[in-house]
């Protein structure tokens, strides 16, 4: 696995995303800029300039036409993937921590932070895909305030009109987008902040990572914990690997306490775990700071990790990765 080092950010990465074909990689960072790269050779295709604060989150639609981003400057922006132009801007009272497209690309969900006397909120906007995309409604289709611990993560669940959220207390919950009602919740899903939440391709299950050093696989419908992956370091990101029954976990010692420990203490490795047997398969080294975000190409042929060190490392799998059958001939469904 020859990694490609993408050196285009001046500060730590916050989220990276592949498009559906896996040929483009979008990366957001604390340096206010969003970059897009060719996955194949690591060449930078362009940037999306306009945010004036840490870009916390990005998402791209399934047709690679629109990109949405949320930032600490209290703005959420819609971009044209092709031209890099900002098409529309929504403004909030607090920072936007997470954005996500719906399965059919006609809706966006976002989480705004609870701060400065403002309640945390989850907003759902309809996206007008007609025309050049600049004609968007400023008003949300739905908006609600989740009660209890503040939400940090969100995504559209398995059925339309359902939002799955991750919370600071370690809670995972399902909300009805229309009424804002908590349909289902698992208070003790994690013991600490949920740091990442990524859904399977059919959205029937999802993986979460947490500062409590574990990652867990949940069934979306019931929020039941299916599998638990226990590591020895706080986790920042967890991703599912299409085509292979693996989950990829990334994390490491907190950035602020890294300087007090030695490099090998930090555990800044991407860990591969078997999705079903709950055992670690291997690790990939490389970053010299904690890993903040991991994304796997929907094709399953490569993955990328973004670190606190400001680098994105893209790893294309070798032929042997696809041939290898470390657990014999057991067929595992996606």
């Amino acid at each position: 696995m020859r990694p490609i080092l993408l050196q285009g950010h001046e500060r730590s990465l916050t989220q990276i995303k592949f498009n559906r074909e896996g040929d483009l990689l979008f990366s957001a960072s604390k340096d206010h800029v969003i970059n897009v790269w060719f996955t194949d050779n690591g060449e930078r295709l362009g940037t999306y300039d306009g945010h004036n604060g840490t870009v916390w989150t990005i998402d791209v639609d399934s047709q690679s036409t629109f990109l949405v981003s949320g930032s600490a400057d209290n703005l959420m922006k819609l971009w044209s993937v092709q031209t890099g132009k900002c098409l529309f801007t929504w403004e909030f009272n607090t920072a936007v921590k997470r954005v996500a497209f719906s399965e059919t690309d006609d809706q966006i969900v976002c989480v705004t932070e609870q701060r400065m006397g403002y309640q945390g909120a989850i907003w759902i906007f309809d996206i007008n895909r007609e025309g050049d995309g600049t004609q968007q409604s400023k008003e949300p289709a739905n908006m609600f305030h989740p009660v209890g611990s503040k939400a940090t993560l969100c995504a559209f669940a398995h059925v339309p009109g359902m939002i799955v959220t991750g919370h600071e207390s370690g809670k995972v919950a399902l909300f009805d987008a229309k009424t804002g009602e908590e349909v289902q919740s698992n208070e003790r899903a994690h013991m600490d902040v949920v740091t990442d939440l990524q859904l399977s391709s059919d959205r029937s299950y999802f993986v979460t990572s947490s500062k409590d050093k574990t990652a867990r696989l949940h069934e979306t419908k019931t929020l039941e914990v299916l599998k638990t992956y226990t590591t020895e370091t706080p986790l920042n990101s967890a991703a599912l690997s299409p085509g292979k029954p693996y989950v990829l976990l990334g994390g490491g010692q907190e950035a602020m306490s890294v300087t007090t420990t030695s490099l090998r203490q930090g555990k800044f490795e991407t860990r591969f775990w078997h999705k079903i047997f709950e055992e670690e398969i291997g690790r990939v080294k490389g970053h010299f700071g904690p890993i903040n975000t991991i994304a796997v190409s929907p094709k399953g042929d490569c993955y990328a990790s973004g670190g606190e060190d400001g680098f994105v490392r893209v790893h294309h799998y070798d032929e042997s990765y696809f041939r290898a059958k470390p657990y014999g001939d057991l067929e595992v469904d996606e």
Binding site: D202, L226, F277, E334
Partner: protein
């Protein structure tokens, strides 16, 4: 909380009802507050509400209690009968103590959660002792039933006598006997108040005697407890206690009375050590006890003590026989700052590590005074060294020792991030030559600060403990060339050539290292008591290959279960050694069978997991398909799109600028 009020008297009726959320809370309050004195006249008593009901409805008729049926006690040494002769170890993590078999299917034997503060094995491995707030508890037998308990509240340290007959406990808080406390031979009586150290009989659980703590002389700030505070003679017959600067008091067991009715008065005595028994001594002692003919007079116990320079007297190390109290050998020493007494574990040699200073008292160097105890007149040999010796260790049963010395200027003032450079030297008794100890080899410029000999000798592990940057383990073999047991006689190799480095390993931030009783495995652990980085334990074989490694949060303690001395005679042992090849073939077969068994189990487990998962996925997919149909959409959105994609050709243009030449054309 309800306070019933007596309106007539205008004050409370003198009791309250308190309701707790959980039964545990109530129990805690009961333990903490019952008998709490508000003032001299008023004492607070707590009774459970359920108890009141129970005692109110008590049946008054007398029922003859059934005599308790005799239950055979479990065999306390059952673990030695393991068909594969595996060893056991105990791990202590969080507030959980677990006992494991060390072997292929590493299984947990018991798990108990009982607010344990510390655990320890007895020296022969019969009991597992656990420290609780209320006292010490002993566990034993194959299912680890409670065996005995010793009520010493807030106990902090314990120490067994070498034959496991007695137990010494120490608590920082002086013993208090509250009013109405239980009485009996197993409990403290008012005379014991104010003392810190207690001696118990393990079998009966009876308290034998208590002592106050004896601190060394000097100002209070430097007071440091010496532990073990009571030193046992190797046959459990005597226990000694030193009052620094004054005397050694030796008590006879089991009466715990002062032997000879008086202590051994020694002006200025600092420390003493009993001479351990060798295998031979043990045999002879047994013979003597059986009254067999031809048994020699049983050798008396021996102890060594030292005292520093006082006024014009030189410092002195003395060997004394006990109980006859005859001085066997004395040696005067000069310019002494400190002495440490190290007995070889069979009592063949005594090494006195003497830290000496130069006349100006500026630099410290070290002498090793080695007493050869088995020879006539106890000849003393001196090994002079220029550096400070930080650690000394005899080879068990052997004639070799390892020292760690250092001339690092940072030695006296360890700071964070400073790793002290050390030299490691091996010495051996030169049997063929003059019969003195000679240097085998020195390993210069190490960072190792800890030596661990394998309990069988020959193998030795050097480790850097307690450093934040270095954590190396080095495994050495001192008899690499001749596997034969009768090694030293026939060896014609060059002096010191048998030392061979077997392997190097690394356990980050380790705090402890311990060989298993058979000397085949070494366990290292990083305890949460010392730091919180990567706590856990690892087990290595004698070559430094990792066998197991577990990183566990809040991991505190790892202890191998000790084994009692073998019951096989020398003849039987020789027999075993002769047939070793035959046995090893058997063992290998067993191992192979075990392995295939395990892997079959694992395959089955995985198969089951995958089947479960696949079944669940199938259900999920069906549900999703139904859902989509219901919404009036195509059942499978992806399929045609994917076909399109497959046709798509991907062309990649790679522009590589090989050379760029800028030419300036001057016209």
């Amino acid at each position: 909380m309800t306070v019933p009020w007596d309106d007539a008297k205008g004050k409370s009726k003198g009791f309250i009802f308190v309701e707790f959320k959980h039964a545990e809370d109530a129990t805690f309050a009961l333990n903490a507050m019952n008998g709490h004195p508000f003032d001299a006249k008023h004492t607070f008593f707590i009774t459970r509400f359920t108890d009141i009901e129970r005692y109110a409805n008590l049946d008054e008729t007398y029922v003859e209690p059934k005599p308790e049926e005799f239950k055979p006690r479990e065999h306390l040494r059952a673990w030695l009968g393991d068909p594969q002769a595996r060893d056991q170890y105990v791990t202590y993590r969080g507030d959980e103590v677990e006992i494991h078999w060390h072997g292929k299917p590493s299984q947990c034997e018991i798990a108990q959660k009982k607010n344990i503060l510390y655990t320890s094995w007895s020296p022969l491995g019969t009991y597992l002792a656990s420290l609780h707030r209320q006292g010490v508890r002993l566990w034993g037998g194959p299912s680890f039933e409670p065996q005995q308990r010793f009520a010493h509240p807030l106990v902090k340290l314990i120490d067994f006598s070498p034959c496991e007959n007695y137990l010494v406990t120490w608590s920082h808080d002086p013993i208090m006997v509250p009013e109405g406390a239980q009485q009996g031979p197993q409990f403290f009586s008012p005379e014991d108040e104010g003392n810190n150290i207690a001696v118990w009989d393990v079998k009966t659980g009876n308290l034998l005697r208590t002592f106050p703590t004896a601190y060394p002389d000097g100002d209070d700030s430097k007071r440091q407890l010496q532990w073990p505070a009571l030193k046992w003679s190797p046959d459990d017959k005597f226990v000694g206690r030193v009052t620094p600067g004054q005397q050694i008091s030796v008590y006879e067991l089991p009466s715990m009375g002062l032997q000879g009715k008086k202590s051994i008065k020694i002006e200025g005595v600092v420390d003493f050590e009993w001479c351990p028994l060798g295998d031979k001594d043990r045999e002879e002692a047994e013979k003597g006890a059986n009254g067999a003919k031809g048994a020699k007079k049983v050798k008396e116990n021996m102890l060594a003590y030292w005292m520093p320079e006082v006024a014009n007297q030189p410092a002195r190390v003395t060997l004394m026989e006990f109980p006859s109290r005859t001085v066997l050998r004395q040696k005067n020493l000069f310019n002494v700052t400190d002495c440490k007494l190290y007995w070889q574990n069979h009592g063949d040699f005594l090494c006195v590590k003497v830290d000496r200073h130069t006349k100006t008292k500026k630099s410290i160097f070290c002498n090793l005074e080695i007493f050869r105890v088995r020879e006539k007149d106890f000849p003393v040999e001196v090994v002079e060294l220029k550096d400070t010796v930080t650690d000394f260790s005899w080879e068990p049963k052997g004639e070799r020792f390892v020292i760690i010395s250092s001339n690092d200027p940072n030695l006296g003032n360890p700071g964070p991030g400073i790793t002290i450079k050390t030299d490691v030297s091996f010495y051996q008794l030169d049997v063929r030559g003059k019969g003195d100890f000679r240097l085998l080899r020195t390993l210069p410029a190490r960072t190792s600060n800890t030596v661990r000999w394998s309990p069988r000798g020959r193998h030795v592990m050097l480790a850097t403990v307690g450093s934040s940057s270095k954590s190396e383990l080095e495994f050495w073999d001192l008899d690499f060339h001749n596997d034969d047991f009768g090694r030293r006689e026939g060896s014609k190799d060059e002096w010191g050539s048998g030392i061979q480095h077997l392997g190097t390993a690394d356990h980050y931030a380790l705090t402890d290292a311990e060989w298993d009783p058979s000397g085949r495995y070494l366990a290292t652990s990083a305890s949460a008591w010392r730091h919180t980085l990567e706590n856990g334990y690892a087990i290595w074989d004698f070559r430094g290959q990792e066998i197991e490694k577990h990183i566990l949060d809040r991991f505190k303690q790892f202890l191998w279960r000790p084994r009692p001395p073998s019951l096989l005679t020398k003849e039987q042992k020789r027999q075993v050694r002769r047939n070793l090849k035959e046995y090893s073939r058997q063992f290998e077969e067993e191992d192979a069978a075990e392995e295939s068994n395990v892997s079959a189990e694992l395959v089955a487990l995985r198969k089951r997991l995958v089947d479960e998962w696949n079944a669940w996925r199938k259900r999920c997919k069906e549900e999703i398909a139904d859902e989509r149909k219901r919404r009036g959409k195509k059942a499978d959105v992806d399929s045609d799109e994917q076909k399109e994609e497959e046709k798509e050709e991907i062309e990649v243009w790679i522009d590589e600028v090989i050379e760029q030449i800028e030419e300036e054309v001057v016209e």
